[in-house]
Assembly symmetry: C2
Homo-oligomer: 252 residues x 2
């Protein structure tokens, strides 16, 4: 599927995790909040750039982004609607809930570098299994901004020990989609129980493999509970953009 | 001078351009605006990251930054006070003008990489001459944010032709302080007349040298005219931070 075909399918109601869909194109997390709360979200992202690399911000009331032709209210496979930190709905279209004062933040997603990881010979277990990458709240706190605060959230991928350095190099080259891992091995030092992801599905870490953790775009979503209203993507159900992943390779 | 000694001298009233001062430490542009306008400034920076790499944002009413021990109202050599785009004062202390609702943005400065350029054998003419680096408004427009709009502003340094590639490599490694040049040679294609800088002093480009242009932190300052009130540094008169320049070398 091309990015446009994938978005058309989601617009028509198809629901699926987007990991592995439209390989080679950047994917993005969605957070839409009222204009009055937008500064705090943008500042939270500025203060926590590793989990929150901002790729685009829409003008209030607009539901289009320069990252993807289409409609942000309908073109993701699944949304979450939040009121005062409570999940009130998980619809496949956010049209009913979209308000004229909403500002949408598009935040880089580690799905973007999975194509490059696979190209470097690194197997991606959750893609092989057709499940959602496991995501964990860690014991590491983000730097707060106004009422927004919360833990760093990470994704985990098991990597064969002889390929861990390669995984670091490949992802360090794409800082706009979380960059290098934040933690390698020793999940307990991060406050993580591998068997119990907070989102997504657990995957086996086999002998000879090391759990590798990358900062995750669900981090700002986990910090939103102080806000009266927000619309986000459902974890694993991202915006597929028209931007080739290579665009985000760092100039260094 | 150490960064703390330099700030103490400026606090005591000494006025000088900070290029070449406290080599090896990051320098920063200052923009302070009322909280009500802070979102537009932060969004302008997000949309124009090359000229506006945000290093820190203070909480409203605070005049300290984690980048430098001291007082942002007094520790720069010279300030500019703006009302509705008019320059109303150029004091050596901003204490009288600081308001409780101000939010201060510290933005990366190309002075930060001059130490690395010099270390790579690239002569810096404005440092040799003791003048302020020439800065130019270009014909290239920034992406607007709310009422903020304006041209890309650049600094220019003449570089011997055989060292231009080195200058690119050295500065590409520090994206938080503007990164690689935005334009090399052909000033007319950028709408620039080398003899007439908009800020700073002209420098000679000698035979065998090429004018190399980097994005400049004066860019957001040039976009502020729509705002009712702002305090900025005076061009060339930066905040000297306690952060070693090497901190901002990219992970790639």
């Amino acid at each position: 599927m091309t990015p446009a075909q994938a978005r058309a399918a989601f617009r028509a109601g198809r629901v699926m995790t987007t990991s592995g869909v439209a390989p080679g194109y950047a994917q993005a997390n969605l957070i839409a909040v009222p204009r009055a709360d937008a500064y705090d979200v943008l500042l939270f992202a500025q203060r926590n750039p590793k989990p929150c690399p901002v790729l685009d911000v829409t003008d209030p009331g607009s539901w289009t982004t320069r990252l993807a032709a289409g409609d942000l209210r309908t073109d993701l496979p699944k949304y979450r609607i939040w009121e005062h930190g409570e999940l009130v709905a998980e619809p496949t279209s956010a049209q009913r809930w979209w308000r004229p004062d909403l500002v949408a933040f598009l935040i880089g997603c580690s799905f973007t570098f999975e194509h490059a990881l696979a190209g470097a010979g690194i197997p991606l277990r959750h893609v092989e299994l057709g499940t959602t990458v496991p995501m964990y709240r860690t014991s590491r706190a983000c730097r707060p901004a106004g009422p927004l605060s919360g833990p760093l959230v990470v994704t985990m991928r098991p990597v064969p020990a002889d390929l861990v350095a390669t995984a670091v190099k490949v992802t360090a080259a794409v800082p706009a989609v979380h960059g290098a891992p934040v933690h390698i091995g020793a999940p307990e030092a991060l406050g993580v129980d591998l068997d119990k992801p907070d989102w997504g599905d657990p995957v086996e870490v086999r002998p000879g493999e090391v759990p590798v953790f990358w900062a995750c775009g669900v981090t700002p979503q986990a910090a939103l509970s102080a806000l009266p209203f927000a619309i986000t993507h459902a974890p694993g159900h991202m915006l597929i953009t028209d931007v080739p992943e290579s665009t985000y390779r760092s100039e260094g």
